[in-house]
Every structure is written in structure tokens, then in C-alpha cells.
């Protein structure tokens, strides 16, 4: 349980920092790429708000003494916000790559898959890090259900 809460806290704090950077990038109107991570582009300000608030919700969930159903729900909700953001970016990248331009109607598969190559927006990387958190929430739900069955 302690490791889980440490993970939520670390993840939440990271999201707050990265969201803050995206906000700053959006306000200043610049874009930055560091390794496989790229910060910038259209709607970066909104992505920054979403990432930072998701980080805030994760951190809030950690503050409860014993994670109740409400805290678990907050973790799922915050993860959902990241899934929506990342899913939208991935979907947009693929749809933009499909029309083949002036000569062909549909681009070759290589060009379409090429749209999925790095650099990635922070939300796309954060989505992978939500999986352990979601798995934990799901795990607790399964344990609760087993307890109910045993008790009955």
C-alpha cells in the first residue's frame, strides 16, 4: 500500500511539473523537444491544464489516510483525463497521415505507421504510467469483491 501511494505521489508530482512546463510553453508560444518527448503544437496550453490538474488529482488521492473508493475513483478519473488527451493526439496523428497528398488517395502503410514514431507528447508517455495505478485500483476492487464473497 505504501509503495502504491508513493507511486501515486511521484506520478502526480511529475504530472504537475510537466503540465506546468506545457502551460509555460503555451503562454510563451514556443516549442521544445527533449529526447523522445516533444512539448508544443496546437492546444498545448489546454494539454498543460489537463496534465497539471490530473497531477493535482493524483496528489489529492494520496493525501487520504486510507485510499477509499472515492480516492480510487479520483485516480481513475485523472487517468481518464490522460487517456483522452493521449488518445486524441494519437488519433489525430494517424488521420493526418492517411490522405496521401496530391498524387495518391491513401498513403502507403510505412508513411501511416511513421506518424506513430517519436517524439511523443508528455500525455502519451504518461498514459503508460497510469497503467500500474489503474491496475492497483482494479486489484483493490477484486480483493473487496473476494472479501464480500467470503463474508457472505
Amino acid at each position: 500500500m505504501r509503495i502504491t501511494r508513493l507511486y501515486w505521489a511521484f506520478f502526480g508530482a511529475s504530472l504537475l511539473v510537466v503540465g506546468g512546463i506545457e502551460l509555460a510553453v503555451g503562454i510563451l508560444g514556443v516549442s521544445r523537444a527533449v529526447g523522445p518527448v516533444s512539448i508544443g503544437g496546437t492546444y498545448v496550453l489546454w494539454r498543460g491544464i489537463i496534465l497539471a490538474t490530473a497531477g493535482g488529482l493524483y496528489t489529492h488521492a494520496v493525501l487520504a489516510d486510507v485510499p477509499s473508493i472515492r480516492e480510487r475513483a479520483i485516480v481513475v478519473l485523472a487517468s481518464g483525463m490522460l487517456w483522452i488527451t493521449a488518445g486524441t493526439q494519437l488519433f489525430t496523428a494517424v488521420l493526418e497521415a492517411i490522405p496521401g497528398g496530391a498524387e495518391t488517395w491513401i498513403a502507403p502503410p510505412g508513411a501511416i505507421f511513421g506518424a506513430l514514431a517519436p517524439p511523443y507528447a508528455p500525455a502519451l508517455i504518461a498514459v503508460l504510467l497510469t497503467l500500474p495505478a489503474i491496475r492497483h485500483v482494479d486489484g483493490i476492487a477484486v480483493i473487496d469483491r473476494l472479501r464480500e464473497v467470503v463474508a457472505s
Partner: protein, 411 residues
């Protein structure tokens, strides 16, 4: 059973039957129940709503861009327009101009004909936008999120005489004003529908316009949007006081959250799309035809000359922006794009974009206003009311921005 029971005795009987047949027990809320609660709680509901709206606009932009820019633009510009220009008879006559437009045009937007620009806007621009918006709206409805969003935003909308469900046409309008105006029919009462239709057509920029703004003037887009949304609520509050009529109370049954099922989703999408194709599409085509008649009779340039003193004097923008305004009758996104070709100061750029947003809805929205206005208090009332609002918005809200510019020393 005695059918002559008075109401009190009948309720007692109901209570007796319920006591004998219904069992009550307490149940602990599940994670899904809690998520549903969090969506209507302001501290968690608003951040989630921002994420949902981001996803909605992102999905809309991707799908509309995929069909319009990826396929309809090349289809119309490379095949349909040249074929029509070559084969259509009566070149040089007004019939040719109204139906095909400029014989030397190289793209369907600039041709300005009913069968070129009209068909392109209706089929190539509006239909993909509608498909994307109707799909995402159906997903949100079937998942149970829309009622929660309505509850979350009800307090804000109540201040301008609307209730929480007004968020649906508003959100749709940020994609395209046409389905937004059409969706006002879901609101109760003529007053609500009139206020919402008017505010949408005056203050809410469509997704295409927002996209062009974000690509050409990203540093000012957020500010312009905030100014327009502030105008939406200020003029909404005024209209709520001025317009007669009552607003029904907002009572909504919030369904549980669930995964949308493909079959009902498809049926809803097909029904809404069919509805637009059969009733809305002809209106858009006729609207483009009327615009062409205005061009043929030179009335459009008369309008341009008439508004020029207002633009330069009251709003402080150069006369060069008049052609962009005229283009804005057809598509506001391209009107904004035209501004990028004119040398403007930052103030003039922001003021011009605000002006393009406020001064008149695009032709597709205008004809939808006519269509829906007939069922929302009468066509005359809606058109005159909307016209009065947009003139007031242009002079007061636009003038206020000019005043701010003068005070700050940038105008």
C-alpha cells in the same frame, strides 16, 4: 379494487402495496458510482470537462480535416470544378455566375457558385463536421456524461436565462455553428431557443475559424476566445432581462455511466445525419445562391462601402479588411486567413478577428437561423432580434475593445 378512491386513499394504498412488496437495503457505492459523482462536483468535474472538451475538439478537428482537407478539397478542386467549368453551358450569363461562379477560379471556395462553393461548403465542409460532431455527441449522450455536464454548468447558464443542457448547442457550435443552431431545438421554450440561437451565431467562433486562428495568430487566440465568451455571457444576461417569456426549471434524471453500444449509436448518427441532409442541406445551397445574387447585383460592394466608416471610425481597423469581411459571409475561417495577407498591427489583427466573429454569421449558419427561427418564436422575431443583438454586439462589445486599445495606447 375500488376505482372511486379519493387521491389520499389511493396514495395510502400505494404505500401499503410498496411496503408489502419492496425490500430496501443499503449498498456501498462502487468506483463507477463515485466517478459519476466526481463528474458533477466542481473541483473534479471541471478539470474532467476540460479534458472531454479537448478530446471532442481534437476528434472533430481530426475527422473534419481528414475528410475536408484530405479528400473533398482535392476532389472538388481537381475534378469537380474543372469539369463543371468546361461543360456547363451559358458561360458569361448570370445563370452561369449563380450556379458555377467565376469561370477562372482555381479552387471551389473562390468560385462562389451554388454548384461549386455551395456544394463544397455543404458537402465538403459541413457534412464531415456534422458527422464528427454528431458521433461524439452521441457517444457522450449514451455514456451518461451529457446530463452530468449539464448539471455541472447549470449555475452559469442560469444567469443568462438558460439551463445546463444549453451546453450541448454551445459545444457543437465550437465545432460548427450549423449543428449548434439546429441543436437549440432540444431547449425548452421559445425564449431559451431564441437567446441561445442569437448568442451562438454572434459570439461563438466555429472550429474551422478557431483552427485558422490557432495556426495564424496562436498568441492571440486564447485572448480573443475569452473576450468572445465574456461577451456571450454579458449579452446573454441582457437578453434574459429584455426578452419576454419564462424559463422552465431544470430537473434531470442522471443515468448511470455506461459504455455506449454500437447499434443505438449508429442509429442515432444515421437519424441525425439524414435529418440534416434532407432539411438543412437544401437551405445551405439556397443561401449560397442568394449570396451570389447579391454579388451579381453589386449589392455586396454597396454593403461593404456602407460598413467601411464603421470599421475605420468606430472599431479602428483599416479599410483593407472589408474584402475579408465580405468573404466572411461565406466562410469565416477563410476570412481570418485573408487577414494574414494584410499588414496589420497586433491590435488591428485582434480587433479584425473579433469583428469577423461578431458582425454576421456565415451563410450556412444564417440559413439555419432562418430554418430554426420559424419554430422558435417566429422568423421575424428571431431575425430582427438576432440582427439587433449583433449590431449592439458589434458596436458595444467591438467598440469597448477599441476603447481598451485606446486606453492602453495600442489602437
Amino acid at each position: 379494487m375500488d376505482s372511486q378512491l379519493d387521491p389520499a386513499a389511493r396514495w395510502n394504498l400505494v404505500d401499503e402495496i410498496a411496503d408489502q412488496t419492496v425490500e430496501y437495503e443499503t449498498a456501498e457505492a462502487s468506483v463507477a458510482d463515485e466517478i459519476g459523482q466526481l463528474m458533477v462536483s466542481p473541483w473534479t468535474g471541471f478539470p474532467f470537462a476540460i479534458a472531454v472538451l479537448y478530446g471532442m475538439w481534437g476528434f472533430f478537428g481530426a475527422v473534419a480535416g481528414f475528410f475536408t482537407d484530405g479528400y473533398f478539397v482535392p476532389l472538388f478542386d481537381r475534378y469537380w470544378l474543372p469539369w463543371l467549368q468546361e461543360t456547363f453551358p451559358l458561360e458569361g450569363t448570370w445563370v452561369y455566375f449563380v450556379l458555377v461562379g467565376d469561370p477562372a477560379a482555381t479552387n471551389s471556395f473562390e468560385a462562389f457558385g451554388m454548384l461549386t462553393s455551395g456544394l463544397f461548403i455543404a458537402v465538403g465542409v459541413v457534412v464531415p463536421a456534422l458527422l464528427a460532431l454528431y458521433f461524439i455527441l452521441s457517444v457522450l449522450e449514451d455514456s451518461g456524461y451529457i446530463p452530468r455536464l449539464a448539471v455541472l454548468l447549470d449555475t452559469f447558464f442560469h444567469r443568462i436565462g438558460l439551463h445546463g443542457f444549453a451546453v450541448v448547442p454551445m459545444v457543437l457550435s465550437f465545432g460548427c455553428n450549423v449543428p449548434g443552431v439546429e441543436a437549440t431545438r432540444s431547449l425548452e421554450g421559445e425564449k431559451q431557443r431564441f437567446i441561445m440561437m442569437t448568442l451562438l451565431s454572434v459570439f461563438i467562433p466555429c472550429g474551422a475559424q478557431l483552427g485558422v486562428m490557432l495556426s495564424l495568430i496562436p498568441q492571440y487566440t486564447g485572448f480573443i476566445l475569452l473576450y468572445l465568451i465574456a461577451g456571450f455571457f454579458v449579452f446573454g444576461a441582457v437578453l434574459n432581462r429584455v426578452v419576454s417569456g419564462s424559463i422552465p426549471e431544470f430537473i434531470v434524471d442522471i443515468p448511470p455511466l455506461r459504455w455506449p453500444r454500437p447499434r443505438p449509436l449508429g442509429q442515432k448518427l444515421a437519424m441525425r445525419t439524414r435529418g440534416f441532409l434532407t432539411t438543412g442541406l437544401p437551405f445551405v445551397l439556397v443561401g449560397v445562391g442568394v449570396m451570389n445574387v447579391l454579388y451579381v447585383t453589386d449589392l455586396m460592394s454597396v454593403i461593404g462601402m456602407a460598413v467601411q466608416p464603421v470599421l475605420t471610425g468606430w472599431l479602428g481597423v483599416p479599410a483593407d479588411t472589408v474584402p475579408a469581411l465580405v468573404a466572411g459571409f461565406m466562410r469565416k475561417d477563410l476570412a481570418v486567413a485573408q487577414l494574414s495577407a494584410i499588414a496589420l498591427t497586433p491590435y488591428e489583427t485582434v480587433m479584425s478577428v473579433i469583428m469577423i466573429s461578431l458582425y454576421f454569421p456565415c451563410v450556412a449558419t444564417f440559413v439555419m437561423l432562418i430554418k430554426e427561427g420559424r419554430n422558435s418564436g417566429g422568423l421575424t422575431r428571431v431575425l430582427l432580434g438576432s440582427l439587433a443583438t449583433l449590431i449592439a454586439a458589434l458596436f458595444i462589445w467591438g467598440g469597448l475593445f477599441h476603447l481598451l486599445g485606446i486606453v492602453m495606447g495600442v489602437a
